[in-house]
Amino acid sequence: MDAFKILEIKKSVYEGNDARAKSLRAELGRDKVFLLNLMSSPGSGKTTTILRTIEALEAEMRIGILEADIDSDVDARAVAKTGTRVIQLHSGGMCHLDAEMTRQGLAGLGTEGIDLVILENIGNLICTAEFDTGATKNAMILSVPEGDDKPLKYPVMFSMVDVLLVNKIDAMEFFDFDLEALRERVLRLNPKVRIIPISAKTGEGMDQWADWMRAAVRHCKES
């Protein structure tokens, strides 16, 4: 009998998902649907920010929301109250979404006539960064109580996002949070990222954020 021999494979386990994500992104581009993947730790303010974003933009564009909590539909119900089209994804205990689940979510939501879809990803900063969802752009929220040292601990997440929202700036005085130090740390990992300080509670900074969204959606329509 032949002996066992070593056969080199050298393939990233993420390759399959990366390929599916790429084709989803291309399809969304063709259909002129802008998909934003919104990530953060639990409780950083994803749902509150989404509600504010709907308020700011619903008169100008048609919005759909994908909610991806592990096992509750609290966030989806909060969004549904605004009259916005929303669907709760059942991620079956998963801690991140991949391109296939995102595709199924979009199909369930129905993207006909929709300009902007925001995906509220599952609250965690590690594996959500490793699985490309196929989104047009990736955003993350870091909230002030989490501290300005997070880029040192989660370099993978901070280096892959297109926009970073620094939320809960209304609470700045209660925390030892250095916005300049954060900016430096993040820009070193990711020189192209846009950083926007906001308070989803008071509405501060929401104009800049809404402008970023408007420009991104417009760019998607025109390209």
């Binding site: 009998m1 002996a3 080199e8 594996c127 040192l152």
Partner: protein
């Protein structure tokens, strides 16, 4: 826990590779995982038997190699481990560094015939 999904992906990829390369029997599967990856080696090992059950890989052994989460210091050029140095260079204290590795999750090789 997200390991089961990726282990199933590993099994799919290896079976596909075996099919295309005329492999009849696989003995060992070797994975490489970075320290900064969100995958926990112990969990990968725990769900491996379930993922290979009933496939041609049912009796294979899984081996995992860990790759370090290393960074290159931008100030003094030292290569250091990010996990063990709380994000800063142990030689000069600089926080300016470039990630060299540690995010990987690769199927490295198989022992087969």
């Amino acid at each position: 826990m997200h390991e089961l999904g990726v282990v199933i992906e590993v099994v799919r990829t290896v079976l596909d590779f075996a099919e295309r390369n005329g492999v009849t029997r696989i003995e060992t599967v070797v994975l490489q995982m970075g320290e900064l990856s969100s995958m926990v080696p112990k969990y990968i090992e725990d769900c491996y038997p379930a993922a290979v059950y009933g496939t041609k890989m049912q009796d294979t052994t899984l081996r995992i190699e860990i790759l370090p989460g290393n960074a290159l210091c931008g100030a003094c050029g030292k290569v250091f481990n990010l996990l063990r140095n709380a994000g800063g260079c142990p030689a000069c204290g600089s926080e300016e560094w470039e990630l060299l590795g540690g995010k990987e999750f690769m199927i490295k090789e198989i022992a087969a015939r």
